[in-house]
Structure formats: structure tokens, C-alpha cells
Subunit: 638 residues, 2 copies
């Protein structure tokens, strides 16, 4: 049966009742519809709970037409609940009635007695010091020798109200509990850097790169699979089918004679070297992310030990990965639904064991390869199991697929999600895509991660593109969403595509060692360093919900802002999408959104150039020369 008060549409929420995501320390807005018959005054709070433990609480207030809202600072880690509690505030209802009646000159004698009895019931719960005051009020309310005004004033005495309000029972108390997942802050705000340790000479060589990566301001160092690589059908340079004996093969063709997903490729180092890399990374305030790629080379130990985990063909072979007509002969996909349920359980636990193994080695972040080709039921289970004991583990979904699958993966548990950023270029595309990501229901549970490049994806203006294009795409990725990443080589403006018909790099690092000259000085490193520092300095960049686009009379100049409920300056990013030419525009700013005055001047500080301007009004003129700066990243102050 429905309760006295209906609590509907509690937000944040996900479509199917999975927990929405927040981060430890975040100030969140909670809302619900509270619907009750009649005209009673209601009261409501939201409580953050972890089972029986109450962690925080905040009042809800009616905004408009039965919609109630409140703000709550969440703290903790892992599975929590938001409990909305609503009740009828009979004391407030009575006060409202007697006030309105008195104002209309109606008889309030009965109401005075109703109130006196109400106070009488509650006075015992009032602090001993306050009880006399309440008893006085009751006496006056009933005192027929007093004037009606005096008796009414006693009833509405603020001091009495203050004493009584805390002890009023929650009449008609109704509650509704919804789940909430709290990640550590890194889950919501992170800068990723991807590198192939084999190109650096293995783990030991990677350690040598850590200072540079930390100096640039990254949080996560993500490594493609570090496991032994199969020899059967090994791919040669540029994805050729005839690998020579010295070609290293794709790290995603996991498993060889040396072992599978629990083993380390001997050329990278041993387990001790890996743990050292993890520790050295952490010592610099960063973390190692591993690739969780559930597939096997034909030489993976599982192939012989567990043929039932793969798809057998009539000729006795195992079906390799393909998306016809594309073929990946060096990879066997796993069949996550073997015929026998016991086989399925064994397989899923073996997959979980991989995570357990690397978590034991100190890893807390996983980038998951192609999760959209594995069952959602598996992800729900494995992420749930892992995080039951390790709520600090983060999962990034590499699902470049249809929007509903992307959202569903996020809903069932992924912390962050690769996005379509790589294929968005124009003013209109960004406005549409960011509005979708930040204002539709997905904002409660899907955290997009913007990558201008990956080892698979060299796209759009970066293909044979100039340094200014790399600078522009960096600023967009790093300032539009709180999470972004880049694949190494980006800072060196690597721009050569393999072919017109795909998005691969020429001489892709996926199939060969790439040696880079890290001593070069003509790089994007200074800008990357600046941008990451600006992101950390301004909490507004930790927000996705608050992104707003502003007007511009030039389609090549894109302007968007972010504000933060936690305080801190609003930021305005003005990007020149035309990296070949200087462009100017008159902006049309929403000053209300930015919290800037309409009449008085305000200051804008360009965090990149270091210059400070004084603006007045909502139509500043801006000009950006890509030879100097890709963007204004402005901190505003009234």
C-alpha cells in the first residue's frame, strides 16, 4: 500500500535502479517529488546512510509544485543509500491555519485550544530549561481574561516555536531509499596518460619516464596489456600477417608459453619490477592503470586447459575474433556463456581472479578493453564482486559503440567511459554532445572521459595536423569534462595516419616498438603542464553538470563556462576551432550563469597567457591567434 506521502522521482538516479555515482567530498543536489493529498505542511530530509549508519543529513525544501530539493555533502566510499524521509508537520500546519484565520478575522478560539493541547502533548520532550516558557504559553492561550491578541501572540511566539519544532513527531512519516555509489575523488576527476612500457625498455624504463609524466600533471599512467604475447598468427608491423621472429606482436594478443593474464611479458620485467613501477608511480602522486582485455591469443594457457571457454568450430579449430569481413586471427574471443553452468561459473571466477591478482599487486585502476563485446551480466557481477571488498577500484570502459550500450555499461558499474569526443569537431557538435552528456539522465551515472587520441584512433584534424590542432584538441578534451586522457606521442605531435580507410597510426605502436626523442623541446609539454595545473587549481573543472555554452558571433570561436557549487571562481573557456587562422568574435555571455554583474566591470584572468582583463557587460570581444594560444582559459571574478 502507498504511504501517506508519495515520494517519487528521487534524483540522482539511474533508469533501472542501479546506484548513481558521486565522489567522496562532493556536494550533491538531491531532489524528489513529495505528493500528499490535502493542504498540510510537509517536512523532509535526505539522509546519507551506509546500512544502519547515518553519515549525513540535510533538509529538503519545496522549490515548486511538489518538487523538493536539498544539498548534501557526501563522504565515504562504496555502496551507500540515500534515504528521503518526509512527514506531515502538524505543528506548522496548525500555525499556518491559525495565522490565516486570524488574519481573516475568523474565530480562532477552538484553534487556540487545538494548539494548547498540541503543546501540552509535547512539552515533556522540550529541554527542562524551556518547559516553563511553553507552559506559560499554554496558560496564556487558554486564559479567557486575556485579549485574543495576547492569546494569539502566545500561540505564535517565536521562542515557543523554536522550542517545540525540534520535538514535533514525524507524523505520517514515509521514507524511500535509493542506492548511491561513492567513488574516491579520482573516479570523478582524472587525467590519464597512456604509454607502452616496451617502447621505454620495460618497467624499469617506464619508471624513468614517471617524473616527466608527473611534472605534466597526470594522475593515471595507463599501460596496454603487460602479459606474454602469442606467437600464432602474430601481427607484424602495420597489422601485417607475416610477423618476423623479432616482431613483438600486439599486446592485446594475450597469452603465450610464458603464461596468460596473470603473467608478465618477460621482456618488460618480472613481478618485482612491476610492483616497483606501481610503487614509484604512487610515490609521485599517480597510479598505474592496467588493461583488462578478456581475450586470448591461440597460445594462451586457457585455450588448452579450457577449450569449453571458447567457441569450437566443426573443423576442430576455435573461432577467432572477427567482425565480418574484419578478421583478428591472433585473438580468440571468450565465450562467456558456455553450455554448462558450472563451466560458466568457473570461467567468470577465472576472469575475476585476474583482477584480484593485480589488485594484490597494488593496482586500483583498470581500463577495460571492448566491454561491449562481453555480457552486461558479467560486468554487473565482476565489478560488484571486486568492489564489495575494494570500493576504491576504478573501471574505465572502452566501449566505442552505440549510445545505449555505453550508458548501460556505465549504469551497471563502470566508473568512467570513453566517449565520442574523438569524432566531434564543430561548434554545433560540441554544443549538442556536451548538452546531452551534462543535462540528460546519464549525467547521474556516466562519466565521459575525453581522449583526443588513442593507439587505435588518430582522427580528424590530427591526421597530418599541425601542432596548433593538437593544442586545440588538448584544451577541449581537458576542459570540457573532468576526465580526459592522451596516448603518448601526442605531446610530440605524432600525426601520420596508416591509411585513408582506417584511423590507425602509421607504424602503430600496437605492432612495433616506437622510439621517441623525449629530449625534444618543440613539444606540447608546456601547454599540457599548464592545462593540468589549471584543472587542479580551479574546482569548476571538476564539474560536468555545470557546463554551459555561451553565444558567439563566429562559429570558429566556441565559448563555454563551468561553475562550482563548492565555491571557487567560475571559469570561461574560449577556444579557436580554426587552428590555421586567427579568429575573433563578439561573445554573448550569460552573466547570470557566470555570477558576474550586468553593469559593473569584472576581471577575467587568462590562466594560460597570465594576462588579466577587465570586462564590462555581456558582449566582450575576443581574438585568438593559434600561432600564440589555442584558447583563453579564463577565471572570472566580480
Amino acid at each position: 500500500m502507498l504511504g501517506h506521502i508519495i515520494i517519487d522521482d528521487v534524483r540522482p538516479r539511474t533508469p533501472d535502479g542501479y546506484p548513481p555515482k558521486v565522489v567522496d567530498g562532493e556536494r550533491i543536489r538531491v531532489s524528489a517529488d513529495l505528493i500528499k493529498d490535502g493542504h498540510d505542511e510537509l517536512g523532509a530530509v535526505v539522509r546519507l546512510r551506509r546500512g544502519p549508519q547515518l553519515i549525513a543529513s540535510a533538509p529538503l525544501h519545496e522549490v515548486v509544485n511538489d518538487l523538493w530539493e536539498g544539498e548534501l555533502e557526501v563522504s565515504g566510499l562504496g555502496a551507500h543509500e540515500l534515504e528521503i524521509v518526509a512527514w506531515t508537520d502538524r505543528f506548522a500546519t496548525w500555525r499556518h491555519h491559525i495565522e490565516v484565520k486570524a488574519a481573516a478575522g475568523q474565530d480562532v478560539l477552538v484553534e487556540l485550544e487545538v494548539g494548547a493541547r498540541f503543546l501540552e502533548e509535547l512539552v515533556g520532550d522540550v529541554s527542562p530549561a524551556g518547559q516553563a516558557r511553553v507552559r506559560d504559553a499554554i496558560e496564556t492561550m487558554r486564559n479567557e481574561t486575556c485579549s485574543l491578541d495576547v492569546r494569539l501572540n502566545a500561540a505564535l511566539d517565536d521562542a515557543v516555536v523554536e522550542l517545540i519544532a525540534p520535538v514535533v513527531p514525524d507524523w505520517d512519516r514515509t521514507s524511500r531509499t535509493v542506492p548511491l555509489w561513492i567513488d574516491r575523488p579520482l573516479g570523478g576527476f582524472s587525467a590519464w596518460y597512456e604509454l607502452f612500457p616496451r617502447s621505454e625498455g620495460g618497467f624499469a624504463g617506464a619508471v624513468k619516464r614517471l617524473d616527466a609524466i608527473a611534472d605534466m600533471g597526470f594522475d593515471i599512467v595507463y599501460l596496454p596489456p603487460i602479459h606474454p604475447i602469442g606467437r600464432s598468427f602474430r601481427k607484424g608491423p602495420n597489422n601485417t600477417l607475416d610477423a618476423g621472429p623479432d616482431d613483438p606482436g600486439s599486446p592485446w594478443a594475450i597469452g603465450g608459453a610464458e603464461g596468460g593474464h596473470l603473467a608478465i611479458h618477460p621482456e618488460l620485467g618480472d613481478h618485482g619490477d612491476f610492483v616497483r613501477l606501481v610503487d614509484e608511480t604512487r610515490a609521485r602522486g599517480m597510479e598505474i592503470a592496467l588493461d583488462y582485455a578478456l581475450q586470448c591469443s591461440p597460445d594462451h594457457p586457457w585455450v588448452h586447459a579450457h577449450p569449453e571457454w571458447f567457441t569450437q568450430l566443426p573443423d576442430g579449430s576455435i573461432r577467432y575474433a572477427e567482425n565480418p569481413p574484419k578478421k583478428y586471427q591472433d585473438i580468440y574471443p571468450i565465450n562467456f556463456w558456455p553450455e554448462r553452468e558450472t563451466d560458466r561459473i568457473a570461467l567468470w571466477h577465472a576472469c575475476k581472479e585476474i583482477l584480484d591478482h593485480w589488485i594484490a599487486a597494488g593496482v586500483r585502476v583498470f581500463r577495460v578493453d571492448n566491454p561491449h563485446t562481453k555480457p552486461l551480466a558479467f560486468w554487473e557481477w565482476v565489478i560488484g564482486e571486486v568492489r564489495a571488498s575494494h570500493p576504491d577500484v576504478l573501471f574505465l570502459a572502452e566501449a566505442f559503440t552505440r549510445p545505449k550500450m555505453m550508458a548501460k555499461l556505465a549504469e551497471v558499474g563502470f566508473t568512467q567511459s570513453y566517449s565520442y569526443f574523438t569524432w566531434r569537431y564543430s561548434d554545433a557538435e560540441f554544443r549538442e554532445y556536451l548538452t546531452e552528456l551534462s543535462t540528460t539522465d546519464v549525467v547521474d551515472y556516466m562519466r565521459p572521459n575525453f581522449w583526443p587520441n588513442t593507439p587505435d584512433i588518430l582522427e580528424g584534424v590530427l591526421r597530418n595536423g599541425p601542432p596548433a590542432a593538437f593544442a586545440m584538441r588538448l584544451v577541449l578534451a581537458a576542459t570540457m569534462t573532468p576526465n580526459y586522457g592522451m596516448y603518448s606521442g601526442y605531446e610530440l605531435f605524432e600525426n601520420q595516419p596508416a591509411a585513408d580507410h582506417n584511423t590507425e597510426y602509421l607504424n602503430s605502436e600496437k605492432y612495433q616498438i616506437v622510439e621517441r626523442d623525449w629530449s625534444r623541446t618543440d613539444t606540447l609539454v608546456p601547454l599540457i603542464t599548464q592545462i593540468n595545473a589549471i584543472r587542479r587549481r580551479h574546482p569548476a573543472f571538476q564539474q560536468l553538470r555545470t557546463i554551459r555554452f555561451h553565444g558567439s558571433d563566429n562559429g570558429a570561436i566556441l565559448a563555454y563556462s563551468k561553475t562550482t557549487p563548492e565555491g571557487g571562481d567560475p571559469v570561461l573557456v574560449v577556444v579557436n576551432l580554426d587552428f590555421d587562422n586567427p579568429q575573433a568574435a563578439t561573445l554573448d555571455l550569460d552573466l547570470g550563469e557566470l555570477g558576474m554583474p550586468w553593469g559593473d566591470p569584472y576581471t577575467v584572468h587568462d590562466e594560460i597567457s597570465g594576462e588579466t582583463y577587465t570586462w564590462q557587460g555581456n558582449r566582450p570581444w575576443v581574438r585568438l591567434d593559434p600561432a600564440r594560444y589555442p584558447a583563453h582559459v579564463l577565471a572570472l571574478r566580480a
Copy 2:
């Protein structure tokens, strides 16, 4: 655990899992998101069930990005379920793979054997006549002496596909069931006429009006409460507090010495007279609707028999109805949550007994007075209980309240809902309100009922308004939504307000007998008759979802259309909102929406004037003189 295929966002739906509403015979669109990992071909159907009984079934097809849709004709009455069943179509997946591989010139020998084994498994289920054909195909697919083309053709032979498709098992079969409520057609398409039988001389007099009401084309004759009226604090004419001995009082002050909600006011007739009225109404193709007003006059038998069902005041009196500072001394509201649970149960059952009683007398339609001042839990329970045995009973909610309460009442069970139509006047207001009603989620469960007037509400342009205003508001109410109603006197252009500060009629029929001259000829009856006939003739007027607004270069000329999935002409309504002056406009029609040609001429037949025009293009010019016609109601034909 999640299934192999995720079935999400099944529509129609309501926010909290209550059944959406359709009507018997309606052709409905059902949609769902089907999400599965990988690249398999899926299949899906929607089934209409009533428990174990399968009533109808229709295929779903992918529209775009995992959204699947189908159309289903529903039949039956009462509680049903929609079951979405989805499966992996391994046969189609295999065909797709082998086709793509062959087209890319890849080796398909193993795929041929995969297919042959697949067919072998299934051939036993094929009709005996077809088995030979399938076995031939298998043999050819395996025949190494045949060319690859011949073997491939055998695999993809349409005849074999046709034989096999019906016997392919539903691999990975997943299903999701959601509730669906089927009303009889009157629940979705109805014209109501409200009359006070006491003004006609009681039930016998009301019978005499039935022919006229049926001739106008109404479906439902709704009577305000027919029960004994209290004497205590009885209201006099124009809501005065000093009723004379002959003043009849408000019918909503229910209950007197003669009885309560189960009794009939002696001046209206006896139970036999009432049953006769019900039968005579039904004989004319209409139905009687009773008012279900859960409140009591101070003289209601319940007041003395069950004081625990009311709110006692300290002075021993019972709290009368008030919304401070407004007072309704002749009415006691019921307290639906008495302190003792046994009292609550007794009260709720007594309330249900009222419905049972009048259902036994033949009534199947109830107009519910102020449901928003009674608990939603009560409505969920009482409507559910009544309709478990009488699924043909319809409930109209008179909840002129906040939007979320209105929607929630509809969600928990009300068949139809009074709306804000009475307060909507301008072009922009209608566009916004009808778009909300027809395109947001509420369209799946809330059926608005548009009333230009009620005994309580004489509003806007009708206050002292000319006949042309009445004609205009009639057309709007009757053509915008499938359900509408009017309170008698409307056809006589009754237009005198009681006061500036309320919406009451002068000499309101609520408090006195109103004698009307039904022999007048200067009435709205001819137009009402025409409009009701047009509504019945054109199934498009039974639709709410399909309403679309078209452009007009004159804000006084409003144009909207409706189409019907069941076939039948699209209709276009062009209304002159300025009832004082002729107005002309060039329209901007969405011809695609109307299914009319862009180049060729098409005909429009004005169902009111009887004239037929030939239009060409999307910019017809229209002119409406309110002295002649309030609107064009056009049936279009290509």
C-alpha cells in the same frame, strides 16, 4: 542476474510501474531498448497476455540504435500484461556472416559446415513436406564436387530460409513483462453532459431530457450527487449562509435524516425511478455517471454512527471543511486515516460499499469529487478492488490541483482527468499545454477531459461572453482531446458570473433550482450536434498522441491536426480565437505529417460548413468570420 539480452525502457509505461492505459480495439505502439553485447542478430516480439492466456502478438523491429518497435492491436478488458520477448537469432547471424564473408572473398568452408550442422539440428522440426528440401540443401552445402557458388546458393536459398526460420529456437531468450490496463472504448473517447436532475423535476423529468441529449450526440449523462442533503448549515442561494426552509441546499452536502451515500434524495424519486433513468439512458446509447463525493453533511448518518471517521475538535464538535480562510460549514471532510487501523479498514470498506451499491444499480461511470484531498493510497485500493470484479467501471478525477498530483491520481488508476483547459486561452498556451499532454510520459496513463464550463467554473471569455465565444470554446474542447464535457446551460449561452473574485455562476444551480427554456431555438444545440457527429465520424478525433500544431501567421488563428494509425482521413482544425472579429491567416502546414502531397492538389472538406475546397501546397489562406463559423473542421484527402 541480468539476462543475455537487456530489455530496457519498455513503453507504454508509467513512472512507478502502474499499468499504462489503452482501450479495447486500439492499435498501440510498443517499444523497448534491446541491448546485447557483440554483433549477433536479435529477434523480438511483444505479446499481450492475460496471465497465462496469450491474446495477441506482434514482431518488434529495430528502428535505430537498439530501439525496437512494433504495433499491436489490443483486445480485452481489465488487467493485462505486455511481455517483450527477445532472443538471439543465430540462424540470421550465421546467414549474415557467411554473406559478408563471401562478398569479401573470404574462405567460407567452415561457415558452410557450421550452417549444415545448424540445419541438421533443426530439419526434424520442419514440416514433413519441407524436410527433403532442407536435406538437399545440407547435402549440397557439403558436396565438395560442387562449386563454392553452388554450395553457397544452397546455404542462402530463400526457400530453405523460409522453412527453417519458424523452427529456429529462441536462443538466449529473455523476457520482460509490464502491466497494461485495457478500458472499454468509452474510457478513451467520450462526450459528457452534466445536469442537475432536480432542475428537471427529478429522475422522471431527467428521462424526458434524454432524447435531446442523445440527439446532441453525448455519451455520458453525469449527475451531481443524488443523495439526501443536510439541513445543518445548509447553504442558501448564491452560497449564502442563511438558507430558507425551501432552499434545496448543495447536493455536495451529502446526507440527512433520509440517509447517506446509499440513499436517494426523496424529491428526485426512488430507487426504481433511478434504475429507470439508468436503463432509459442506456437504451439511448448513453450511460449515467454518478458523483462520488466522499464527504458528509453534519446530518449524515455516519457522523453519529462513526465519529471516529471524522476529525474531533476540543470543543466536541467535528472539524468542517475549510481551506483557510475559506469555510465550508455544511460539509465534514472524512479522516481517511483514523487512529485505529480497524477503523480505517471499516471506513475504506464503507466507502467502497457506496460504489458497489450504485454499480449494482447499473452505474458504470463515476465522476470523483476532489480526489486530491483524499489519500492516493485509498484511490489505489478502492479503484483496484472495484475494477478487479468490474473492469468496465470508469472513474473521472476532478482534481483541479498541482500537475504532479493530477498525474499521480491518473497513474494509480483514474480513467480520465479534468484538466487545465478551462484556464488556457491563447495560441501559445494551447501549443504548450497540448504538447505537454500529448508528448510527455503522461500520455501513456493520463487522459485529459476538457470542460469549457462546470457548475463551479465560468471562466475567461465565457464570463458575460457572446454566443460566438461559447462556440469557439466548444470546438476547442471537443476537438483537442478525445474526452470532453459540458455542464447544461452551456448550450443556452449562460454567461452571468456571480462575482469578480470567484468563478461561480450567478444564481448557481449548486444552491437553487434553475429553470431553463428548452424550447429556445437560438442555442448552441445545432453546433454541438454537428461537432459530436464529426467526432464520431472521424477516428482521428479519438487520438491524443497525434495532435500536431501547424504554423499560422496570425496569432488569432490556431491550426492543429490529428491523424490515426487505424486509417481514416487526417483532420485539420482551424479555430478563430477572436470571437468578436473575422480573422484571416496564411497557414504553414506540415504536409508530411498530414500525409498530403507537396505538389499535387488535395481536397479539404469542411465538416461544419459542408463546403469542399481544393488546396495545393502547404500555405493555404483561411478566413473565419465568427458570425458564421467558429472554425474549419477539415477532413483531408489526397
